[in-house]
């Protein structure tokens, strides 16, 4: 069965420091991997995705993620955190290698990022 794990419920970072939010996945075939951010009482906003190609993916708001097939990981990173980055971050996987419209997302439990001034 496909699954996504986010081992940290919360990550605390000082503003200006680099941040990493971890994600590992378990899926058959080649996965499509996504990061979404959720602010309180808001919908999920797309940050970035990995489909194929370069393992380092750059996304919105200065975020990037590194796909590591051997470690089945897709950690989210940002070189310098901002207080406004404080939110709930979800890693998600869409089982790839299937034709047609299958594209439902399987989410991790989410990691709350808190950036302090």
């Amino acid at each position: 069965a496909q699954s996504v794990a986010q081992p940290e419920d919360q990550v605390n970072v000082a503003e200006g420091n680099p941040l990493t939010v971890k994600c590992t996945y378990s899926v058959s075939g080649n996965p499509y991997l996504f990061w979404y951010v959720q602010y309180p009482n808001r919908g999920l906003q797309f940050l970035l995705k990995y489909i194929t190609g370069d393992n380092l993916v750059k996304g919105s708001y200065g975020f990037e993620a590194e796909f590591n097939k051997s470690q089945t990981s897709f950690h989210l990173k940002k070189p310098s955190a901002l207080v406004s980055d404080s939110a709930l971050y979800f890693c998600a996987v869409s089982p790839g290698d299937y034709g047609g419209s299958q594209g439902n997302l399987i989410f991790g439990k989410g990691t709350k990022l808190s950036v302090k001034p």
């Binding site: 979404y36 919908g43 034709g99 299958q102 594209g103 439902n104 997302l105």
Partner: protein, 117 residues
């Protein structure tokens, strides 16, 4: 840019009542997804539609049904509501196409917060 529209934003119902949630996808998007997010939980996939046909089914209770109409808007119908149905219901849309198989990002609406008393 146009986003996904959901209505109503908030809904309060009694147990055993019915509820209908509506979703208007981004224009020209061909796929609609419904997700349920319980308090403090990750979003769980319920059901999806591609070109007005049901394309995938997740953990949707038999008491729920959904459809996508000719104008691509979708409705989630929920009957015999239970206390446990209280959650945030998200609709998402994407431009999937037949061959892309889940590789395109989904754009989420703001959600409908359903409270069952």
């Amino acid at each position: 840019a146009a986003g996904v529209i959901q209505s109503p934003r908030h809904l309060i119902k009694e147990k055993r009542e019915t509820a209908t949630l509506k979703c208007y996808p981004i224009p020209r998007h061909d796929t609609v997804y419904w997700y349920q997010q319980g308090p403090g939980q990750d979003p769980q996939f319920l059901i999806s539609f591609y070109e007005k046909m049901q394309s995938d089914k997740g953990s949707i209770p038999d008491r729920f049904s959904a459809q996508q109409f000719s104008d691509y808007h979708s409705e989630l119908n929920m009957s015999s509501l239970e206390l446990g149905d209280s959650a945030l219901y998200f609709c998402a849309s994407s431009l999937q196409g037949w061959a892309s198989a889940g590789g395109n990002e989904q754009f989420f609406g703001p959600g409908t917060r359903l409270t069952v008393l």
